[in-house]
């Protein structure tokens, strides 16, 4: 039989029994739809977390007090507040690959301005901070090295603080009071959004670290030192360099363990995406199982259909159909049904992912890779699970098949 006629015969046969076709395709439709939705959810979560982490700055290293071996927990008075301004200054002087350095001097206080007040975190940093965190200003500007040297009382507001103190107004040029000290607002930062752990990154006031240490009364401490490199490939070298400088600065003997921890963003990224990878894999496996069940459904209905169509097969054989003609007809039927089911499944999956994204507020991402895999898988399911029934049909004895029923 000619290939085109074979297709015609198979397609006609599919169209002639719509209920049977629908039932056969249902498993594949659900399976492929589930794969698309679940991969979209997993992929969406993954790239959202990756984007959040990237928003922290990708070429950034973070030095925190306490050794990682002790889980970062301070060990009494001896290990208390281990990061000092002399650490920062030594890193600034001696760092080469660690070219950008900024302390983060943290104070929590009330910010008073615009006739109201807002409790927030005041971070004293160097000029490099803006580059390390890759955080441009939305309005106004950032402070300069000159401002840091002279401990000027200037502040750059995170967008949350600006919106709360000066809603609908231009905050730049206004004054705010931090611990009774008046600061001039010279800029407002762009919105970064929440961190992966849900902290609002924009709920912050940024001032020169010198100002934080000398002009603000009360307790201040260096919660971390952030360091930036020119490219992510320099991160390992920079880590080694930072460790050497910090050990020297803390006068640690060769046998002593580090009393600080250096982390980079790729560690954090790996940790976070690792979790979502596990989730994606889990979701994809569940979906793959449903695809497999769909395939078994196809085989089941194809087998029933071979029995039901035994006489038809006998008639075709008596008219001159070879075993291979019957085999191909059944295989083509099964593959066409799986593929059509796959395409419907993709449409439903894409729609489902969009609906989930809308109603649940989840970030979903339909990847072309998942779509291609789903199509390939459904064709494979059609061939694999269609083959057994098709071979059974092609091996029937025409006399017995004609006598069936």
């Amino acid at each position: 039989m000619k290939r085109s006629t074979l297709f015609k015969v198979a397609i006609e046969s599919i169209l002639k029994n719509k209920l049977r076709t629908l039932l056969t395709m249902l498993g594949i439709v659900i399976g492929v739809g589930a794969v698309i939705v679940m991969v979209a959810v997993g992929q969406g979560a993954r790239s959202q977390i990756a984007a959040q982490i990237a928003s922290l700055g990708t070429n950034m290293l973070v030095i925190t007090p306490g050794s990682s071996a002790q889980g970062g927990v301070s060990q009494g008075a001896a290990t208390f507040n281990r990061l000092t301004i002399s650490d920062v200054e030594k890193l600034m002087r001696e760092g080469t690959t660690a070219s950008l350095v900024s302390p983060v001097v943290v104070t929590r206080t009330q910010a008073i301005g615009g006739g109201t007040n807002w409790r927030t975190s005041v971070n004293g940093v160097s000029v490099d901070f803006q580059t390390i965190r890759a955080w441009p200003v939305a309005e106004g500007g950032f402070f300069t090295d000159q401002d840091v040297r002279t401990s000027r009382k200037v502040a750059v507001l995170g967008s949350t603080v600006a919106n709360n103190l000066y809603p609908g107004e231009d905050a730049v040029g206004q004054m705010i009071q931090l611990r009774d000290v008046p600061f001039e607002i010279i800029g407002v930062l762009t919105t970064k959004g929440q961190t992966a752990s849900g902290t609002d990154q924009d709920d912050v006031v940024i001032i020169p670290y010198t100002t934080a240490q000398t002009k603000l009364s009360g307790h201040t401490f260096i919660s971390q030192i952030v360091v930036g490199t020119q490219s992510s490939s320099e991160i390992p070298a920079a880590t080694d360099e930072i460790r050497a400088i910090m050990r020297e600065s803390h006068r640690l003997a060769p046998a002593d363990a580090d009393d600080f921890t250096v982390r980079n963003q790729s560690d954090l990224t790996a940790a976070a995406t690792g979790t979502t990878d596990v989730m994606s894999t889990l979701l994809a496996s569940i979906a793959a199982i449903s695809l497999l069940v769909g395939g078994i459904g196809i085989m089941n209905i194809m087998l029933v259909s071979v029995t039901e169509r035994t006489r038809e097969i006998g008639i075709r054989m008596s008219l001159g159909a070879r075993g291979r003609d019957v085999l191909t007809q059944f295989l083509v039927e099964s593959v066409v049904m799986s593929l059509v089911g796959g395409v419907i499944g993709i449409l439903i999956g894409v729609a489902g992912a969009a609906i989930l994204g809308k109603t649940m507020g989840w970030h979903t991402e339909v990847s072309t890779q998942a779509v291609m895999i789903a199509v390939a898988f459904s064709a494979a399911v059609g061939i694999f699970f269609g083959f057994h029934p098709a071979r059974k049909a092609s091996g029937l004895d025409p006399i017995q098949a004609l006598r069936h029923e």
């Binding site: 015969v9 002639k16 038809e312 008639i315 008596s318 008219l319 001159g320 070879r322 075993g323």
Partner: protein, 252 residues
């Protein structure tokens, strides 16, 4: 060179392996049927008629013996070769019509042409339409089997058997599912085709049907008991006309 007979068998034997005791369904059958003959095979149930038809139709292979179909030896052919022989040389007509449901009359008739491997049939729809015209069903081409009477379905089946211009039409009890008038109609069609040169072998256990053939082969226990020409061959069209007047007289 003389024209070979359509069917020639020598010592045709078929033994079924039914458990402990084998069933000898055909025993050493020698049969020759010439081109243009119309032969009725008769015999009691279980005498081996269907077994012989299956072998003559290349649906089954003999246990022993030789079989030449249209000059070609076919008793030892494999499955695929037999499928091709059935497609090119044989047209089947069954008792139960065996049309594909959900498929129009013309598409049913077209079906054998689709399984032709030689690619000699170009416009298969036109050939199918011509075959339907030969059985007088052009106006039912798009009807499905369920929309046709038994007699009409059997005529579609005959058109399907004719469409490939086979050397032989084999019909196993073609009137078995039809009432007597429709049976005569179908036999009239067979006689008409036979007059056009089509070789026909049909199985029947009704003597009234067998006498429309030109020759009767009677079987018993897998052997040919009797093989002779029909002396008073009936003309089905004349019988139909007579039936028509009888019906008209009855209506008066």
């Amino acid at each position: 060179m003389s024209i070979p007979p359509v069917i020639r068998t020598e010592g045709l034997t078929r033994t079924y392996d039914a458990g402990r005791n084998a069933v000898h369904a055909l025993r050493q059958v020698n049969l020759t049927i010439e081109r243009g003959e119309m032969v009725a095979v008769m015999g009691a149930s279980g005498s081996g008629k269907s077994t012989m038809m299956n072998i003559l139709g290349c649906l089954d292979t003999p246990t022993a013996g030789t079989y030449w179909l249209d000059g070609e030896r076919v008793d030892g052919l494999d499955r695929d070769a037999r499928a091709d022989i059935r497609n090119r040389k044989i047209g089947f007509v069954f008792q139960g019509f065996n049309l594909l449901s959900r498929t129009s009359a013309i598409d049913n008739v077209e079906l054998p042409l689709l399984y032709d491997h030689s690619g000699r049939h170009l416009d298969t729809q036109a050939l199918a339409a011509a075959a339907l015209a030969r059985v007088g069903l052009s106006d039912r081409a798009d009807h499905h089997p369920s929309e046709l009477s038994g007699g009409q379905q059997q005529r579609v089946a005959i058109a399907r058997a004719l469409v490939t211009e086979p050397a032989l039409i084999l019909a196993d009890e073609p009137t078995g599912n039809l009432d007597s008038r429709t049976s005569v109609e179908v036999m009239a069609l067979f006689q008409e085709l036979n007059e056009q040169g089509v070789t026909i072998v049909l199985v029947t256990h009704e003597p009234d049907i067998a006498r429309y053939a030109g020759r009767i082969v009677e079987m018993r226990d897998g052997r040919i008991l009797r093989d002779e020409p029909v002396s008073n061959r009936h003309d089905a069209r004349a019988d139909l006309r007579a039936l028509g007047t009888a019906v008209e007289e009855a209506a008066v």
